[in-house]
């Protein structure tokens, strides 16, 4: 803007100069550059903070989903054999390399780590590594016979296929595991056995439950937000406090309160039994299942729906609805054709907030979900904290992130992100 103005003036009256003799255009550009640098310096701390505490660690974590050098770093001889013999069946040289590596692994106590890495691909093979390493010192050539003597399991073709694939530090195996695929004996990928399929079911469950929770929040939150927007100021602020008070209470307190209310011997069941509505033997199971997860998460996420809706509804002039009524619309038509379309930015913002929070929710489903109410985030936490299969955890997290970004894009295409109003 300033540039164009300067150009226009230059065009009209030749080179304009500042009082100290510099061309005006140059002085302006300099002043603007200085302002830009100052603005950048102001956000620099935030930028550095985000980079250091968010982008780098998350990037590093996600890179683990494709990078895993446990095998190649600890089994160098076998890794070399694999790269020199791209298609060969395991021969005496391969078994000799295996024994060399296992000896070194025993020395450094890494056989457990290597076994665990292969066990990810072929369940039940971890013990091959640990038990063979325990006896590796006594092995004599020919190594093939000697190793097979320790355990016949070393013949398995899927084991060798898994080792060959694990010898490459860059791998897509963890993404395949994250969609319930496994290595077959011929080194191909196929669907995992039914008893080992988890993740696809869990992803589906996570999305379905999140949609249900978002829907419930919308149904429950819409009237509340409307009430907040139309009540006189004093009453509205009282109501707003009631909405915000639970929002400010600790998440754990709210979740455990629900446990007190919903459990088999809890307040609700006791009241129903006491009133004679339920028999003592058929108390409702509202906790440690999906019902518990849905109830507790809907309550916890409700303010994230109410607040954006409220901020949008507050700005809708009541005269539109009045105009519609005076032109003969029924109250339902007024609501449907006049009021709701104006609240869409709030509905969009609330729904996307609640949905994204629900998809990644962890602590509430862990506490009240039992076996059927846990979500994909609980499985990610299991692999982060218990099984320590960080690569698989990273692959699952990356898929979750990608799914959320896709939804965000879809939302943008349908509703338009610039329509969203967050409050």
């Amino acid at each position: 803007m300033a540039d164009t103005a300067a150009q226009m003036q230059t065009g009209i009256a030749g080179a304009l100069r500042t009082p100290d003799g510099r061309p005006l255009k140059q002085a302006l550009a300099q002043a603007e550059r200085r302002a830009r640098i100052r603005a950048f310096l102001l956000v620099l701390p935030l930028l550095a903070f985000v980079l250091l505490t968010f982008i780098i660690p998350i990037g590093q974590m996600l890179s683990r989903s494709v990078l895993n050098d446990t095998f190649s770093a600890n089994m160098p001889a076998l890794t070399q054999w694999f790269s020199e013999n791209p298609d060969a069946e395991p021969n005496e040289a391969a078994f000799e390399a295996l024994v060399t590596d296992l000896r070194a692994a025993r020395e450094n106590r890494t056989q457990g780590a290597v076994g665990t890495r292969i066990n990810y691909e072929v369940p039940g093979t971890r013990s091959l590594f640990t038990s063979t390493a325990r006896r590796v010192d006594g092995l004599e050539p020919p190594f093939r016979e000697a190793v097979l003597d320790v355990d016949k399991g070393w013949e398995r073709r899927d084991l060798w296929a898994a080792m060959r694939s694990a010898a490459k530090p860059v791998t897509l195996n963890f993404y395949q595991a994250a969609v319930d695929r496994k290595i077959t004996p011929d080194g191909q990928f196929a669907r995992a056995d039914e008893q080992n399929r988890i993740y696809v079911t869990l992803f589906m469950r996570t999305f379905v439950l999140s949609i249900v929770i978002t829907g419930l929040c919308l149904i429950l939150g819409f009237p509340v937000a409307h009430l907040l927007a139309v009540l006189p100021m004093r009453k509205a602020s009282l109501l707003l406090i009631l909405v915000l008070l639970p929002f400010w209470t600790s998440l754990l307190v709210r979740t455990t309160s629900w446990m007190v209310l919903l459990q088999g011997q809890g307040v609700i069941n006791n009241t129903l039994v006491g009133l004679g509505i339920l028999g003592d033997d058929n108390r409702l199971a509202m906790m440690y299942n999906q019902t518990g997860t849905i109830i507790a998460m809907t309550h916890i996420l409700l303010p994230f729906m109410i607040l954006p809706l409220y901020s949008v509804m507050k700005t809708i002039p009541p005269s539109y609805a009045r105009a519609a009524r005076s032109l003969g619309a029924t109250s339902w038509t007024t609501f449907r054709r006049i009021y709701v379309p104006q609240t869409v930015p709030g509905i969009g913002a609330g729904a996307i907030l609640v949905f994204i929070l629900a998809v990644g929710y962890y602590i509430t489903p862990a506490l009240v979900g039992g076996a059927t109410g846990t979500l994909i985030s609980n499985q990610i936490a299991f692999h982060m904290l218990s099984s320590l299969n960080w690569s698989l955890a990273a692959a699952l997290a990356a898929m979750l992130l990608a799914a959320v970004l896709v939804l965000y894009w879809v939302y943008d295409r349908i509703v338009g992100i610039d329509n969203m109003k967050l409050g």
Partner: protein, 357 residues
């Protein structure tokens, strides 16, 4: 001004001294951590001046592994199960502890012969207690008196919810024993695919009735609340609820699964010297016997047995409450640490998938 300066300097010095002389011990929480604080931590601080920080986890083996892998170790001593000790030692996540440097028994028997041999299989760990996984019930809520593991799986004769630890260890063994597998064949059976299928099939029969617990303090709570009528539990927690809180709980000793708890030092622990000192102190004859006055777990040293007497209420005889009491041992099963060290990862995965189905 000068006074303040001196005071601050003195305080800083104190803080420095304190941070140089401390050891962080991670255990299982609740009544069990309390027994350790009373029997080990307090006397240790009194004798050496080294402060003991007590922290808890549902299973300390889990954070240990995560801490060492991430290179951010905050724990000096951890109390873990035998199979985990063997497994973590195999993976190079624990410091090696010289067993011969541990204090001998009062009669001079060297430590290596004084400890129960089954607990001394890992050179990264020193055993402290023998404990067991049992099934406990609330006499007020259960109909009749359950006496065997089969009763735990029989929801027709004993209706009501069941509690179980959200972990395949001990549970799979109990399922097989309840299904009629003799105790000495349990691990051979579990070593085959058919055996694992059989254990899960048995668990399927009560799956919809199970409330899962994770922390050892939960099962007494679930029983007391009436949330479950029977639950698997650590025997000491049930004992403490029975004796100190007068809860009407009973224990099914049939098919109890014995295990050790051991002290280990995570590789790269910040206060390794103090940690070693703590472990030698806590696992000497007298200290192990002292712990039995706070919870019904058996000491891992033979020489401690004569020193085990009354509970800290001054009237309860500990002997019959110990998992190692002869009448409780009749059908007991010792946890096969080698089996679980090798197969825990895959069986846990199968268990998780089973939970979701």
């Amino acid at each position: 001004m000068k006074k303040t300066l001196i005071l601050t300097t003195a305080l800083t010095g104190l803080a420095f001294a304190a941070s140089a002389q401390e050891v962080t011990v991670m255990s299982w929480g609740g009544a069990y951590t309390k027994s350790q604080v009373e029997a080990y931590h307090k006397p240790f601080t009194a004798e050496t001046g080294i402060k003991v920080n007590s922290v808890d986890a549902d299973n300390p083996a889990t954070p240990i592994k995560a801490q060492v892998e991430a290179g951010n170790i905050t724990v000096d001593v951890a109390d873990i199960e035998l199979a985990d000790a063997v497994r973590l030692c195999d993976e190079g996540l624990l410091e090696v502890i010289d067993h011969s440097a541990l204090p001998p028994a009062p009669d001079g028997t060297p430590a290596t012969e004084d400890f129960l041999p089954a607990g001394m299989v890992s050179d990264c760990a020193v055993p402290s207690i023998v404990w067991s996984t049992i099934v406990a019930y609330n006499t007020n809520n259960v109909q009749g008196t359950p006496t065997t593991l089969a009763d735990f799986f029989d929801t027709t004769a004993f209706p009501g919810k069941r509690g179980a630890r959200k972990d395949p260890t001990a549970l799979l063994e109990m399922a097989l024993v309840a299904d009629g597998v003799p105790a000495d064949q349990v691990y051979d059976t579990l070593g085959t695919d058919a055996g694992v299928d059989r254990a899960f099939a048995k668990l399927d029969t009560i799956k919809s009735d199970i409330v899962w617990w994770e922390a050892g303090a939960q099962p007494p709570q679930l029983l007391a609340d009436g949330e479950v009528v029977m639950t698997t539990a650590y025997n000491g927690r049930i004992f403490n609820a029975q004796v100190t809180e007068n809860q009407p709980f009973g224990i099914i000793w049939d098919g109890q699964i014995l295990d050790f708890d051991l002290f280990v030092i995570p590789k790269g622990a910040p206060n390794k010297e103090e940690a070693l000192k703590f472990i030698s102190f806590a696992t000497d004859t007298q200290r192990l016997a002292d712990q039995a006055a706070w919870i019904s777990y058996g000491p891992a040293r033979k020489s401690s047995a004569p020193f085990v007497g009354l509970f800290n209420d001054g009237k309860t005889e500990m002997g019959p409450h110990m998992p190692t009491a002869p009448e409780n041992l009749k059908t007991a099963l010792a946890n096969d640490f080698e089996f679980w060290a090798d197969r825990k990862v895959e069986l846990t995965e199968r268990f998780n998938a089973w939970l979701l189905q």
